[in-house]
């Protein structure tokens, strides 16, 4: 069943492509359709599929710059301006939760990127959900007084976002908590025209494409959350906003890059964050024998 769902998701990614490239789907066997993580399109080269074991070309037809422009038009419904804010940051979200990365010539004005023109490459990430992934962890993150503030850490590509998404869903659906989700890069809820394309729970409010330092206080003021979840804390102002939220009595869930708590404590920003005492749990994701293991520590 899971494999069928993954194949369906991969087919959805192919459906975003211009007609001239869609037929490449038939060149992938079922196991590759189920395992595909991304489609990569680079001008002048055949399209490629990213699999857990590496990237390989699909077909021989070279992708043209016109194909990339048509892809962008397909995804935005010929209305690129509706996604202008995220396109400036190099990505957009398509219906179904597909996160599309854009690379091209940046148009820079007054020190900031205002647009990307002349696309040279595009990546389409095949969304993955893992419902139930966080279920064994939830009891460790809840106390009689309510949810704990927890950090989720792993190296890049370790599965933090997937775990965070299911933790948010679990706290929202299974515990009935009001969760406010700051989805700065559109990777967790994958909001498309106002609707989360991924399951983040019935009691979850999503602030999409907003910097964390701005979104956290806004959500505190407006949505009365019991939990605020953020992905990839990396800036001082993010930490400051979260500490203020914690002082207001809201529990926090946050992901950070790190191999381990010791590794985190060596980085000044995160050492400061740990020293605030706001976070009382840490979930470390490790790969052991090809599988992910989740270790929960009390802080």
């Amino acid at each position: 069943m899971q494999a069928d769902k993954r194949i369906e998701r991969c087919r959805g990614a192919f459906a975003l492509l211009p007609q001239t490239l869609r037929e490449a789907e038939s060149l992938l066997p079922g196991e590759e359709l189920a395992a595909a993580e991304e489609l990569r399109l680079r001008a002048g080269q055949p399209m490629a599929v990213v699999l857990p074991w590496g990237e390989r070309p699909v077909g021989r037809t070279a992708v043209s710059p016109g194909d990339l422009e048509q892809l962008l038009d397909n995804v935005t419904g010929y209305s690129r301006y509706t996604a202008a804010e995220t396109v400036r940051q190099g990505y957009l979200t398509a219906a179904g939760g597909y996160r599309i990365g854009l690379c091209g010539t940046a148009v820079v004005e007054r020190g900031g990127v205002t647009a990307i023109r002349d696309l040279s490459s595009v990546s389409i990430r095949v969304p993955r959900e893992a419902p139930g992934l966080a279920r064994p962890l939830l009891p460790r993150l809840l106390t009689p007084a309510g949810p704990c503030s927890a950090l989720i850490l792993s190296p890049p590509g370790g599965g933090k976002t997937t775990l965070l998404r299911d933790l948010v869903r679990g706290l929202s659906d299974e515990e009935g908590l009001r969760v406010a989700l700051v989805d700065e890069r559109g990777e967790i809820a994958a909001v498309y025209r106002g609707r989360p394309q991924m399951d983040v729970g019935r009691h979850t409010d999503v602030m999409d494409a907003c910097p964390k330092a701005l979104a956290v206080p806004a959500l505190l003021r407006a949505m009365n959350p019991q939990v605020i979840a953020v992905d990839e804390v990396a800036l001082e102002e993010d930490v400051a906003a979260m500490v203020r939220a914690a002082n207001a009595g809201t529990a926090l869930l946050a992901t950070v890059h790190g191999e381990s708590l010791e590794d985190l404590a060596r980085k000044p920003l995160f050492k400061g964050m740990l020293d605030t005492g706001v976070f009382t749990r840490a979930v470390t994701i490790r790969r052991e024998e090809g599988r992910r293991r989740y270790q929960v520590d009390e802080l």
Binding site: G66, D73, T76, G77, Y78, S79, R80, Y81, T82, A84
Partner: protein, 159 residues
């Protein structure tokens, strides 16, 4: 019979006059409809950020004169054609005098970054329509005189 013939020739003259003037008036109406389209596109794209196909579909419903033009654009969008090409092709349904103003929009409408171009296009179309209106005023007298005198001359010669 002579009187009938004269009357018919005069009627033909009046009809010719009406046809010629109506053509000019239609060009003016086209200009007005295109200005309204530009206003809605500017507001819809630059301010409200509404998806372009929905905007164009609404305009098509409300502006009968633009049916063929916008219909071709919408058909092209459904067929996933590159926008600049399909916009230029659809412009062939627009009176020739307005095409040079409208065609360049095809390169930037989907980006929505050239609000200045939408405003300029509207101004240019409006100016062209006003010029047509001015010429219509001047020419209507000339056309009337030519058509009626032509009809009378034909009546005198033939009858």
């Amino acid at each position: 019979m002579k009187a009938l013939g004269t009357a018919l020739l005069l009627a033909a003259g009046v009809l010719t006059r009406q046809t010629l003037l109506e053509r000019r008036r239609e060009i003016i109406r086209w200009g007005e409809a295109l200005c309204r389209l530009m206003d809605r596109l500017e507001r819809g794209v630059a301010v409200l950020r509404r998806p372009l196909p929905a905007l164009l579909a609404d305009c098509r419903e409300e502006e009968g004169l633009l049916e063929a033009f916008l219909g071709e654009v919408l058909d092209g969008l459904s067929a996933e054609e590159p926008f600049p090409k399909l916009w230029r092709r659809a412009c062939r349904h627009v009176p020739e005098g307005y095409r040079p103003f409208l065609e360049p929009l095809g390169d930037s409408l989907t980006d929505g970054t050239r609000r200045d171009l939408m405003i300029l296009t509207r101004e240019e179309i409006h100016r062209a329509a006003e010029e047509e209106r001015r010429l219509l005023g001047e020419r209507s007298r000339l056309i009337t005189a030519l058509c009626l005198s032509g009809a009378l001359l034909a009546a005198v010669v033939l009858i």
